[in-house]
Structures are given as structure tokens and as C-alpha cells.
């Protein structure tokens, strides 16, 4: 779960990381007022959960409260990558003499948190990693020991930090580690960390991505979730505890298990079709959950075929069938249904579905092929009414 810049900055500030003076605003008149308070010279930053805000015109400098108000009017009316801008962060403008990158994330290979720093701040760190890997310093953090000062001194040397900033830099990095650890972050990033022409350090842009699995420990952080940028189906799915990812194809998939769900998508593609979604109902799903999941598929107007692929183990095929039936009952949609049940209570499952027309497949490949053909309009003898 990603936080907004202003939310991340509020957390950073609580941990003593210096951020520019500023406030969040929802209307252009508020922006004007904040701009007046800050002395006129401000930056107005759209708060949407996607990258590329600057390129889209969502981050603008204003030299006066009037200009700030004008820009805010424009920005607050924008959509950036289809997400409406509802709030802007208004901050005092600072004069930048150097931009540094500082971030902590998880290193999957080493299975440890890793601190990454670079003298090339302000850019996407992955781009720096490609264009100038020698400008990036990394240090692994022992998760039982935490970030040590000696590591920070090494990092500071590696990025050629002027020693007069060392103490402040170390304070900021230590705080960033505390944010990462305390909030169960997957990413805590200050980019850029700027050194102003007056020699002060500020976090100019902030990014925090939280570990969804750890939100139970942080109800206050969980409340910060903004679903504006998410597909409504994905939001609904989260409520039901199923994993749903909207894709652009025409074959709606309902599968148990993430690997099998991916494989199902892949085989659809292999056979020339495209999945409308990734949907993992999880292990041991009950009818209610399956019904909700099926409704998610039905709500996608692009879906032409539904493919149910369940390898029964803990999951009982009859329970899945009940859920599917529940979702289909009363709907007037006319979508062909392909069903493949293997394992626990497969026959019972098929039996429950007998009230609606469907085709069965014995192998995964066959199921995929059948669905693709149906989606292409090669209508089979059964057809769902």
C-alpha cells in the first residue's frame, strides 16, 4: 500500500526528518492562503498515487499567491493517468544546490533491508542504476541489529558527501531506518534529499510503500489508504479476501491458487486469447467468496467467456460450483462458461452447475483452448443464456 507524498512527509516529520514548510489543500483558495502564509514563493504538488506527476504538469512553481491559486485551479481539475487530482501539497520553494537519493527497501536476494544512496538524486533510482551504476551506494542492514552508524559513514564517503553535512545526513538516514522498521515499510524513500544553497538539508519528495501483510499492526496507517488510483474491482476483491487483478482481455478467469491462475492466463495467451483478469480465490474458499469473485468477473463488460479452473485439494469443487451458481442465478448475461474441476468433489461440482450450460475440459491446455475459441466467437453447442 502506497502512501501519498504528504502522508509520507507527515510521518517523516514525526521522525525528525526535515521537510519544507507546507500544508495540504483541497481548494485553490486554500492554496492561495497557504501560499500567503509561506511568503508567496511556493511549489504546488498534485497528490496522486502514480509516478510522472511532474511530466503531466501536476507539479508547478508559483511566484505569488495569485499564481499559486491559478495553478491550483488547473491542477485540481486535472486527471493524471486517469486519476483525478483531489488534493495538492503547497510548500515553500527552496533553492537547491545538490540533490541526493536516499532510500531503504528489501533486498530479496540477500533477504535483508538495504539502504541505497546516490549523489544523483531527483531521478528514478532504477534509471541511475542503469545509466551510472557507480553513482549508487548500497549497504545491507542486519534486520536483528539495525542500521549502524559506521555503515552510514561508509555510505556518505561512497556518495562523496561533503563532511559538513555528515551529521545531519546520518540523523536523517537513521530516522529513515526507524520509519522503515516501525511502519513495516517495503520502501521508505527520500528523493531528492536536497542540500539548499543555504546549506540545509530537506526531504523534498517522499515515498512510503507499506507491507499490506503488516497493516494489522498499524491500523492508523491502514486508514490512510486511498483507492482513487485502484480498479474498483480490486478494491472489492480485497474486501472479500480474494486477489483480483484487472487485465485487458476477454476471458474472465476464476482459479484457485496464484500459480495456477497465472498459468491459466499464460495458456490463454499461448492459445491466442487474452485473460480479462487474474483471479485467485485462495485455498479453501467458500461459496460466498466464490460468488463475490464471480460477480467481479461479470461486472467487466469486456468479458466474453468465463473460465473456471479449480484443482480441488483443500478447496472443494462443489463449494466453488455453488458460489458460481449463486452469482449467475438471476443474471441475464449470456456468457459461455468453461469449467475444469479436478480433485476434491469434482463430480459434485459439475452436478451443481448442471442448471446452467457449460463446457468441461479435462486438461488445463484444453480449458484454455476452449475458452479462447469461445471468445473468438466459435460458439460451441452449449451456450449460456
Amino acid at each position: 500500500m502506497r502512501l501519498h507524498e504528504y502522508q509520507a512527509k507527515q510521518i517523516f516529520a514525526k521522525y525528525g526528518i526535515p521537510i519544507p514548510k507546507g500544508r495540504i489543500a483541497g481548494t485553490s483558495s486554500e492554496v492561495r492562503q497557504i501560499s500567503e502564509e509561506l511568503g508567496g514563493n511556493v511549489i504546488v504538488k498534485s497528490q496522486v498515487l502514480v509516478g510522472g506527476r511532474g511530466k503531466a504538469g501536476g507539479i508547478r512553481l508559483a511566484k505569488s499567491p495569485e499564481e499559486a491559486e491559478d495553478l491550483a485551479t488547473q491542477i485540481l481539475g486535472m486527471e493524471i493517468k486517469d486519476i483525478p487530482v483531489r488534493r495538492v501539497l503547497v510548500e515553500e520553494a527552496v533553492s537547491i544546490s545538490q540533490e541526493i537519493y536516499l532510500g531503504i527497501t528489501t533486498d530479496r536476494i540477500n533477504q535483508k533491508p538495504v539502504l541505497i544512496a546516490s549523489s544523483e538524486g531527483g531521478m528514478n533510482i532504477e534509471e541511475v542504476a542503469q545509466s551510472a551504476p557507480e553513482k549508487i551506494a548500497r549497504c545491507l542492514i542486519n534486520p536483528l541489529l539495525g542500521l549502524r552508524d559506521y555503515q552510514l559513514r561508509d555510505i556518505a564517503v561512497s556518495i562523496d558527501l561533503n563532511r559538513i553535512y555528515l551529521k545531519t545526513f546520518m540523523d536523517i538516514a537513521r530516522s529513515l531506518w526507524k520509519v522503515f522498521a516501525d511502519c513495516d515499510a517495503q520502501l521508505a524513500e527520500v528523493n531528492p534529499l536536497v542540500i539548499t544553497s543555504e546549506g540545509r538539508l530537506y526531504c523534498l519528495d517522499a515515498k512510503i510503500i507499506l507491507d499490506d501483510n503488516a497493516l494489522f499492526r498499524h491500523p492508523d496507517l491502514a486508514d490512510l489508504r486511498d483507492t482513487d488510483g485502484e480498479d474498483p474491482g480490486e478494491v472489492t476483491a480485497r474486501k472479500y479476501g480474494v486477489t483480483f487483478i484487472k487485465l485487458s482481455g476477454t476471458i474472465g478467469c476464476l482459479v484457485n491458487g496464484a500459480g495456477l491462475a497465472m498459468s491459466t492466463m499464460d495458456l490463454i495467451k499461448l492459445k491466442g486469447g487474452e485473460a480479462a483478469n487474474f483471479l485467485d480465490i485462495g485455498g479453501g474458499a467458500y461459496a460466498e467468496k466464490v460468488s463475490a469473485a464471480t460477480k467481479l468477473i461479470l461486472s467487466d463488460p469486456k468479458v466474453k467467456v468465463i473460465l473456471v479452473n479449480v484443482f480441488g485439494g483443500i478447496t472443494r469443487c462443489d463449494e466453488v460450483a455453488k458460489g458460481v451458481m449463486d452469482a449467475l442465478t438471476g443474471k441475464s448475461a449470456n456468457l459461455p462458461l468453461v469449467v475444469r474441476f479436478v480433485g476434491t468433489n469434482a463430480n459434485e461440482g459439475y452436478k451443481i452447475l448442471e442448471e446452467v450450460p457449460y463446457q468441461t475440459a479435462s486438461t488445463l491446455l484444453e480449458a484454455a483452448e476452449m475458452s479462447v475459441n469461445l471468445a473468438k466467437g466459435v460458439v460451441s453447442e452449449h451456450s449460456y443464456q
Binding site: T106, G257, L260, K269, G284, G313, G343
Partner: protein
């Protein structure tokens, strides 16, 4: 022979009185596994599964009373890290964590701690281990595979069952099947499992089932090139997965340009691994 578990393994179940724990303990027992103890704090002294399995307050007391040497953890994600620490401190040689949804920072601490011990952790978020005809530790359905000479290692659950089922239908049996789990931070890697299979006299061929996310398969390909003498076959799920989306498993995500199926497949093929385009094709490649 086999790897990790066999009919002599004495199995403990942490969280045995939960729905999942109890259901699968019964399955393990029915499969012939020696399920010797359960642990549920507050229920020590009770018995479950028709009076066959005693419950203890702690892992330590369970081991002392029953000699358990492996555990399967079914406790909720919130408490799972603590359950692993308890098992490590009790010195259990094999710890299989079935639970899904552990916080990643819990897991990083767990891994660091396990590394300093003599314990092996499999999982979390995994289906466990099954040695056909002998024992199973976890949730892999027993009926879909038979004893044989193929070692199976996988990041997935049901997709693995597909492969086991297909192997059985093709008349092929399995030495041991190890589900290493779908999380980004996990106790046992492909390489760990391959190393064990390479040393196992009963295993002649290995099937590995990978998926998008991270670069485990790429690193494993290097290992295969250098150390494996037994043939390895693979399937990698997620060739059609979009960028930046977590595909069900916490670890199944393409970040930047890291973790694509294409990269994994080409690395494995370079290492001489035959990579199937779909799960059932593995059987054809093995002919």
C-alpha cells in the same frame, strides 16, 4: 530414500486446533505420517484426532514428551513468526511454515535468526513437503502422486498439484515434492532443494516450477550449470503477467525489469534446463 521427510519423521503441528491445522493434521495422519504432537497454548493436556494426538503448551514440552523432529506451522500470520522462533529455539531440525501473509520484516528477522541456527525452514506461504508413500508435512493432497524417482520443487501450490497429477497420469512417481512457497523472503530456496535432490540416491530427475518475481530462477540456473548432474526440467508461470502487479503470491511481481518470466526461462535454458510452455508439456519433455 527421499529428502527432508520420510516415514520415520516425527511430526509436530503448531496451531493444531485451528480449522486448517486440524483438517490437515488428520490428512497427514491418514496418509501415514507420524503426527506425534500438537501445540496450542491453553490446550495442553487435551487430545485431538480421535485421541491419537496429544496437545502441548509449548514446542519444547512437546519435543521432550514425543521426540518430534519436524513441525508444520498453521498458526495465523500475526503469530507465525513467533511460532517459528519458538521452533528454532527448541532446536527442531525441520520447520515448515504453511501460513500465508507474514509481514516481510518479520520474515527478514526470522531468516537471519534461522541462518544462525541448525534448523531448516521451508516456507512460509507454502504447501509443505510430501514424500509419496511415506509422509507428508503440510497440505499437498496425498492422492495425486505416487512413489518414484522424480524430485519436484515449486514456488506454487495448486500449480504443483497439476504437475504431480500429470506425472502420475503419465505413470511417473515422485521421490519428494517440496513447496518452497510464494513469498519473496523464504527459508528454503530452489538451490537448497536442488542440492538435496542431487545428493538423494532415490531422485534421478528434477522438476522445478518457478514463477515471476525476484531472480531465484536466474540464480538457480547458474547453480545448475555448476553443480547439478541430474537433469532438471522446469516450468515458469507468469509469462503473460503485467508489470508492477503482485500476482497473488507476495513474491510474484515484476519490479522494474527484474522478475520477468522471459528472463527466467532464458536463464534456465542457457543452463541446459528443458523448459515447458505449459505444465503438461513437462511430461513430454521428460520422455
Amino acid at each position: 530414500m527421499s529428502i527432508l521427510i520420510n516415514k520415520h519423521s516425527k511430526v509436530l503441528i503448531q496451531g493444531i486446533t485451528g480449522n486448517e491445522g486440524l483438517f490437515h493434521s488428520r490428512q497427514m495422519l491418514q496418509y501415514g505420517t507420524q503426527v506425534v504432537a500438537g501445540v496450542t497454548p491453553g490446550k495442553g493436556g487435551e487430545w485431538v484426532l480421535d485421541g491419537k494426538v496429544p496437545i502441548f503448551e509449548s514446542v519444547k514440552t512437546a519435543i521432550e514428551a514425543t521426540g518430534a523432529n519436524a513441525t508444520a506451522i498453521f498458526v495465523p500470520a500475526k503469530y507465525a513468526a513467533d511460532a517459528i522462533f519458538e521452533a528454532v529455539d527448541a532446536g527442531l531440525p525441520l520447520i515448515v511454515c504453511i501460513t500465508e501473509g507474514l509481514p516481510i520484516q518479520d520474515m527478514m528477522q526470522v531468516i537471519q535468526y534461522v541462518k544462525q541456527s541448525k534448523c531448516r525452514l521451508v516456507g512460509p506461504n507454502c504447501p509443505g513437503i510430501l514424500t509419496p508413500g511415506e509422509a507428508k508435512l503440510g497440505i499437498i493432497p496425498g492422492g495425486i502422486t505416487v512413489p518414484g524417482n522424480i524430485g519436484v520443487v515449486s514456488r506454487s501450490g495448486t500449480l504443483t498439484y497439476e504437475v504431480l497429477d500429470a506425472l502420475r497420469k503419465a505413470g511417473k512417481g515422485v521421490s519428494t515434492c517440496v513447496g518452497i512457497g510464494g513469498d519473496p523472503i523464504k527459508g528454503t530456496s530452489f538451490i537448497d532443494a536442488l542440492e538435496l535432490f542431487e545428493a538423494d540416491a532415490k531422485t534421478d530427475e528434477i522438476v522445478m516450477i518457478g514463477e515471476i518475481g525476484g531472480n531465484d530462477e536466474e540464480v538457480t540456473a547458474e547453480y545448475i550449470t555448476r553443480y547439478m548432474t541430474k537433469p532438471v526440467y522446469a516450468y515458469v508461470a507468469g509469462i503473460s503477467a503485467p508489470l508492477g502487479k503482485r500476482m497473488g503470491h507476495a513474491g510474484a511481481i515484476i519490479e522494474g525489469n527484474v522478475g520477468t518470466a522471459a528472463s527466467k526461462i532464458s536463464a534456465l535454458e542457457l543452463a541446459g534446463v528443458k523448459v515447458a510452455k505449459h505444465p503438461e508439456e513437462i511430461i513430454e519433455l521428460m520422455q
